[in-house]
């Protein structure tokens, strides 16, 4: 048994994320919402002060949430609790680890603290999840120690189009890489800016070495099932649940959709009578400067 600080192996960190597969992780802003999420069958909650839709509306600098509020959420549920740190803000990450969160999301939803470097995630015992838009970005984050990946999508919009684009890009990159001979791997690794060893591992195994969830714009059970059918391992729902007309019912429906994603009859049944979905913003109407997905390098 090896539990001393700094010895949490990558196998354990990645294994933690493997237990979330086929599940839904929900953004919550208080203990009451966390309990609703747990009752609905969420596999984890993301504790944050404002959901991405509100961060987008409020503008200004978005930072790590108040530790008091995170502690309250940890105390209110038995499922794992995640919290967000700014890209590159390793002290926010240290604080979150000290609070005992189960995962840290180094997230583009918050305002980046470093425009060149992400957090050295190997230096932590707590596992990290990071966003990506393509295979190169995914493997850079895994190289830095991320034990879980999520495609970025475009958070706080309720528009699934970017989530689809990013998932198709990552999974398509992997499919193309599988047919690549050894001689081409180094140049490919250089071109996508990814560590050679990880590129080779993905080529050999036909999958990322860590769990890959979809995020950013998922608002309905059909959206969740779409992402699962495309081949992701699970779903993050941010603003989509608690910005909708009937959060408790929608939460249950999205949880069921992540399990029965291949069964249209069940999807039809659970999509019925959910009330208003979140209003949503068309990603195509967003100016480049307001797109969160471009944060991270």
């Amino acid at each position: 048994m090896n539990n001393e600080k700094g010895t949490s192996s990558f196998k354990i960190k990645a294994g933690l994320a493997q237990m979330l597969k086929g599940g839904v992780i929900m953004d919550v802003v208080n203990a009451e919402q966390a309990v609703i999420a747990e009752k609905a069958g969420a596999v984890a909650v993301m504790a944050l002060e404002r959901v991405p839709a509100d961060i987008r509306a409020d503008g200004g600098v978005a930072r790590m949430s108040d530790p008091g509020m995170i502690k309250e959420i940890i105390a209110s549920v038995s499922i794992p609790v995640m919290a967000k740190a700014r890209i590159g803000h390793f002290v926010e990450a240290q604080i979150l680890e000290a609070l005992g969160v189960d995962y840290i999301d180094e997230s583009e939803v918050l305002t980046p603290a470093d425009e060149y470097y992400h957090i050295d995630k190997h230096a932590f015992d707590v596992p990290f999840v990071c966003g990506c838009r393509n295979l190169g970005e995914a493997l850079r984050r895994i190289g830095e120690g991320a034990a879980m990946i999520r495609t970025k999508g475009e958070a706080g919009t309720g528009d699934v189009v970017q989530a689809v684009y990013h998932a198709r890009t990552v999974l398509g990159d992997i499919r193309r890489l599988q047919g690549m001979p050894d001689a081409e791997l180094m140049t490919y690794a250089k071109n996508i800016g990814a560590p050679y060893a990880l590129v080779k591992e993905v080529r050999d195994n036909g999958r990322l070495p860590v769990v890959n969830f979809a995020a950013g714009g998922i608002a309905t059970p059909a959206d969740a099932a779409l992402m699962m059918q495309l081949g992701v391992d699970g779903i993050f729902v941010g603003s989509g649940i608690f910005k909708s007309g009937n959060p408790a019912e929608r939460a249950v429906a999205i949880v069921k959709a992540a399990t029965h994603y291949n069964n249209p009859a069940i999807l039809a049944e659970i999509s019925e009578g959910l009330g208003e979905a979140m209003v949503g913003i068309n990603v195509s109407s967003l100016p480049e400067s307001e797109r969160l997905e471009t944060r991270g390098w």
């Binding site: 048994m1 237990m19 597969k21 609905a40 069958g41 038995s78």
Partner: protein
Amino acid sequence: MKIGVLALQGAFAEHIVMLQALGVETAEVRLPDQLADLDGLIIPGGESTTIGKLAVMYNFMEPLRAFAAEKGMWGTCAGMIFMAKEIGTVGTGRDQPLLGIMDIVVERNAFGRQVDSFEADLIVDGFDAPFPAVFIRAPKLVEAKGDARVIVRLEDGTAVAAQQGRWLVTSFHPELTGDGRFHEYFLKMVEDTGE
């Protein structure tokens, strides 16, 4: 032989890969009628509250109990919690549905939030070399009662696997290590049940 893996949520794909490597026919089980032609069932690791809630929503509880009354069943981690008759009160786990199949008492989050994930080499009776085990937010196997008996312990005496006839529970994850010996052990149990 056909072995099902309950695929409501969790690490079911990893079990399927291990079983297929051993040449067994497999099935992902998402609805109760998919239990019909199976010889054994694995309940995987995952989030036990989520698996329990989905099992209740899709009317799995009685069919799973009926299945266990005749066939082999193995719960890993969350699956161990789900198969237990009793859940202790030290950890959390409110309104968590239990199948109540095995005469064991388990405790959730009992190792403590920061230390409930670790690796250990297990000495197992009948295995010629130690088994590399990964514990992920592991529940504690507090007690085995009646016919249930502890079959593996950590060096410090903590129980980590138990068997009761054709039922098996492990608080660790043999599906994550690429070592198929526990899967072989379970297949042998299922075979013996069929005879």
